[in-house]
């Protein structure tokens, strides 16, 4: 549909008050987006009322989401955005990104930082870690088996496997995890107030300040040590270190926990994966699409931009719902079913555009190793509680399960 600037914008002339962003999944299937969000997905881009009263947009269509995320006229700078939902204790105007938080930067600042990091996360380098991930996975499964035949899969497996790997890669001692694990969880928790988030962030940065000094004094064979030879300041190094650790700790962990829950809830799909472990890579892509744990992605228009025949005005915020876009029936037929044989490639679970997930190739290696290893070790793995009693991570920037009680038959 060609854009006609003289036509009245139906979104602003309608008498109906625009909706606010639906966030609660308390009813229905734990793997589906909130029902209210799905109901809003009949249009790829629509008006959304923001927490501060701002009239912005919600993108739920796959093509619209992709176009917005790829377009540099949509900024990632927090200070230009309106938050879709209220952040407890946070002033209406969002502060700019802290030093080292490159998620909240645009080119050329973002490009400068990202280029220091992309060489460390290439497909080839991450595949070289496969054996190491296999070793860490085996160790976690050994410990889980010995303590069995029941476990919280999150504590025993989903959290430690990616945590051990990212710590090793960055050069963060895993033994220090009481100094960063709960802090990272607070940063992603949408119910945590601004003060709690500030304290968690300060504690994380203080930890990394110490670590950067230690790496400068005595470099070891890891990413953080290598970065000390770049022109980054100590403050930038600490900020980037904290960001990479947070991103590596809490994302794959939630995919492993929620993904195991999803596979156990779809026994025909799990059976197909068991029968042919060669399906692991495409199972991972389908789980990424189906679960879309990192959601939503906000952007702010720097100038007037036409998207899907609608005019987004300079200064307006767009909330890109990745979970809705990944369930767009125009892009993925029968989107609400987990189908591991499907070609899920092209999903937006890692985002799109210049900010697309830096660690995605690491996440792929971790999941491609971990899921088949888990189900091979425990052929009778099953939930130890009714599925509706599995506690979900509601209101977190990264969706998942809080815990996943499982059991299995001992040999």
């Amino acid at each position: 549909m060609p854009y006609d600037p003289t036509a009245a914008d139906p979104a602003t002339t309608t008498a109906e008050e625009p909706p606010i962003l639906p966030a609660d999944r308390h009813t229905g299937c734990p793997f589906d987006p909130p029902a209210e969000l799905t109901a809003l997905s009949d249009k790829p881009l629509r008006r959304l009322r923001y927490a501060d009263g701002h009239l912005g947009w919600l993108a739920t269509g796959h093509a619209a989401a992709r176009a917005i995320l790829a377009d540099p006229r949509f900024s990632s700078r927090y200070e230009l955005m309106h938050p879709p939902l209220p952040i407890p204790g946070m002033p209406q105007e969002l502060p700019p990104a802290m030093v080292g938080d490159i998620i909240g930067l645009d080119a050329p600042e973002h490009t400068r930082y990202r280029r220091l990091l992309t060489g460390r996360f290439t497909v080839r380098r991450m595949r070289r870690l496969t054996e190491r991930v296999e070793r860490l996975t085996t160790e976690c499964l050994d410990a889980m088996e010995q303590a069995g035949p029941t476990a919280d899969l999150v504590q025993a497996f989903a959290q430690p496997v990616p945590a051990l790997m990212i710590c090793e890669l960055l050069g963060v001692p895993y033994a220090d995890r009481e100094r960063f694990q709960s802090q990272v969880a607070t940063l992603f928790d949408q119910t945590a107030d601004a003060q709690a988030k500030g304290e968690a962030h300060t504690a994380l940065l203080r930890y990394f300040d110490e670590l950067v000094l230690a790496k400068r004094a005595e470099p070891t064979d890891d990413l953080l040590s290598d970065l000390t030879t770049s022109d980054l300041t100590d403050e930038e190094l600490a900020g980037i270190g904290g960001l990479l650790l947070a991103a590596g700790l809490d994302t794959t962990a939630n995919m492993l926990g929620l993904g195991t829950f999803a596979l156990l809830s779809n026994p025909d799909q799990l059976e197909a994966l068991r029968a042919d472990p060669g399906l692991a890579e495409q199972t991972v892509e389908e789980l990424l699409r189906y679960l879309s744990v990192a959601d939503p992605i906000p952007r702010a228009a720097l100038e007037d931009v036409e998207v899907e025949g609608q005019l987004v005005r300079a200064g307006e915020t767009v909330t890109v719902s990745v979970q809705a876009a990944n369930r767009d029936p125009h892009r993925f037929p029968d989107p609400d079913r987990l189908v591991i044989h499907r070609k899920a490639t092209g999903h937006l679970a890692f985002g799109h555009g210049a900010h697309q997930c830096l660690g995605q190739q690491l996440a792929r290696v971790e999941m491609t190793v971990a899921f088949p290893a888990l189900f091979a070790r425990f052929p009778t793995l099953r939930l130890a509680v009714p599925p509706q009693e599995v506690p979900l991570r509601e209101r977190s920037n990264i969706y998942g399960v809080v815990s996943l009680p499982v059991t299995w038959d001992e040999e």
Binding site: R115, T122, V123, H355, Q356, C357, R364
Partner: protein
């Protein structure tokens, strides 16, 4: 075989590249990443017909629009 309409030509823009690795993941025979910055390295600007499908997919998946395709139309063998 020498008919240029039956060849696919690719070009890669390393300035636009975001180093996400989607091309090297999808069409490893055609694309690579350098070890230093992880940016796209075009191994075969004129890929073989057997590599066309993967190359086309890589173009579509590139998050930064850094790969351009000058190809026979998609109905070509």
């Amino acid at each position: 075989m020498s008919d240029p309409r039956e060849r696919m030509r690719l070009s890669a823009d390393r300035d636009r590249c975001a180093g996400a690795g989607m091309c090297a993941l999808t069409a490893p025979e055609v694309f690579d990443q350098d070890d230093e910055e992880g940016l796209v390295v075009l191994l075969h600007p004129v890929p073989l017909p057997g590599q066309w499908a993967a190359a086309r997919m890589a173009v579509g998946l590139c998050p930064a629009g850094a790969i351009a395709l000058d190809s026979p139309d998609s109905t070509a063998p």
